[in-house]
Symmetry: none
Subunit: 234 residues, 2 copies
């Protein structure tokens, strides 16, 4: 299923150039020289991407862009001879998805049309991020807030513990100072906050069954901070 791209521009050469290039790229193309014709056509077609030159005489740009973007769900790319920053910003604020200035390279136009088609199908909040990490003897599941053993035993960890754990797993074999922790974990730079951090780490060590005096995972560097000793695979 090839996507439908429309062109609205009053210069025939530009229409032809774009039409050719886009068709070579595998799109279905329909071009128009006047806004009236284009608007009439909208009643029977639903374009996926619209290339528009807004400097036409009979155009109410705002209404047109709005109709395309809002009602039709089409992506709008403005192609204009006006290259000033304020023109571009105005076009984008109008609701356009992209703004290309003349003269343009048709190859780039094709690339930007493709980008718009990709963007349309993107799910707003669907996918999950890599939220599971593995290291010696353990696997941490940040989507469920549990640590799982080699034997399958599961130990839940809390939010506070998880923040520390995550910071370690993101920076293995690197010294992490208390200052960095406070910054990363957003703790107010309170006077006794470092003690809270100690407690967090202490509790985390208990769950990981790691002995501070003989650490396998979390090593204390006296006067400097902590290091996560193991390799981590996300």
């Amino acid at each position: 299923m090839s996507a439908l791209v429309t062109i609205l521009d009053d210069e025939p050469e530009i229409r032809q150039l774009l039409t050719e290039t886009l068709e070579e790229a595998g799109f279905k193309v329909q071009s128009f020289g006047r806004a009236r014709e284009f608007e009439a056509a909208l009643n029977r077609i639903t374009p996926d991407v619209c290339l528009i030159d807004l400097s036409l005489p009979d155009t109410d740009g705002l209404a047109l862009v709005h109709r395309l973007a809002q009602d039709q769900g089409a992506a709008v790319i403005i192609i204009s001879g006006r290259a000033q920053v304020q023109d571009r910003v105005a076009g984008l604020e109008l609701g356009a998805d992209d703004y290309i200035t003349k003269p343009f390279d048709p190859i780039e136009v094709v690339a930007r049309v493709r980008a718009r088609l990709r963007g349309g199908s993107r799910s707003p909040s669907g996918s999950t991020n890599p939220s599971s990490a593995r290291f010696t003897g353990w696997r941490a599941h940040f989507d469920r807030f549990v640590l799982s053993d080699d034997t399958g035993t599961e130990v839940p960890f809390s939010q506070a513990e998880g923040e520390v754990l995550r910071l370690f797993l993101e920076n293995p074999k690197r010294l992490i100072s208390r200052a960095q922790m406070q910054e990363q974990l957003g703790g107010g730079a309170g006077d006794s906050f470092d003690r809270a951090m100690d407690v967090r780490i202490s509790r985390l060590r208990t769950k990981l069954r790691d002995d501070p005096k003989n650490p396998t995972l979390i090593k204390t560097i006296y006067g400097a901070g902590y290091i996560f000793l193991d390799d981590v695979e996300w």
Copy 2:
């Protein structure tokens, strides 16, 4: 709820310039000087738009852009000093949503970031809301306001319960904070509204026969929010 924009660029002045402008425009901003830091941070943040200078030394641009666009569902805007058409086309084909060349006007960057956010939230015009979802042991029918068991037993749920349930089922395996709930469920930021939310969830858990202390479906993350643990199929 303001969108989160990240910046990845090795030049501190550019980071600062963009950060200031974007924050003035009302976005939340986090900037990074190295790809490694940025990638680490991706484990705990989910940016909506990512501004990236790919000419960094330690960057595998392809992988990074792919990860952002595919896994995280973020929009990617490349900001680069390379202005050749082939560079721009290459960047866009890589999966980026936009390509801005240095030097740039920060105002235009803001406009293009906004355009990206609009694009992401554009509602898929054709598809209607599915009104039924399935997860372990249950099927939720939002058109009839009932939950049906494996055995066919039906449990009705009310409007308020349904709102919470739907929010969970639309964001499985993701932490949902109380703030997000209040925003999504339109609850005024009342003083004691958080208790009402607790009660809603409590009742929902009762109907789902889910024990808070040993949850299968709705897990509490103390001090952070809730997570729906199961996979969901609509």
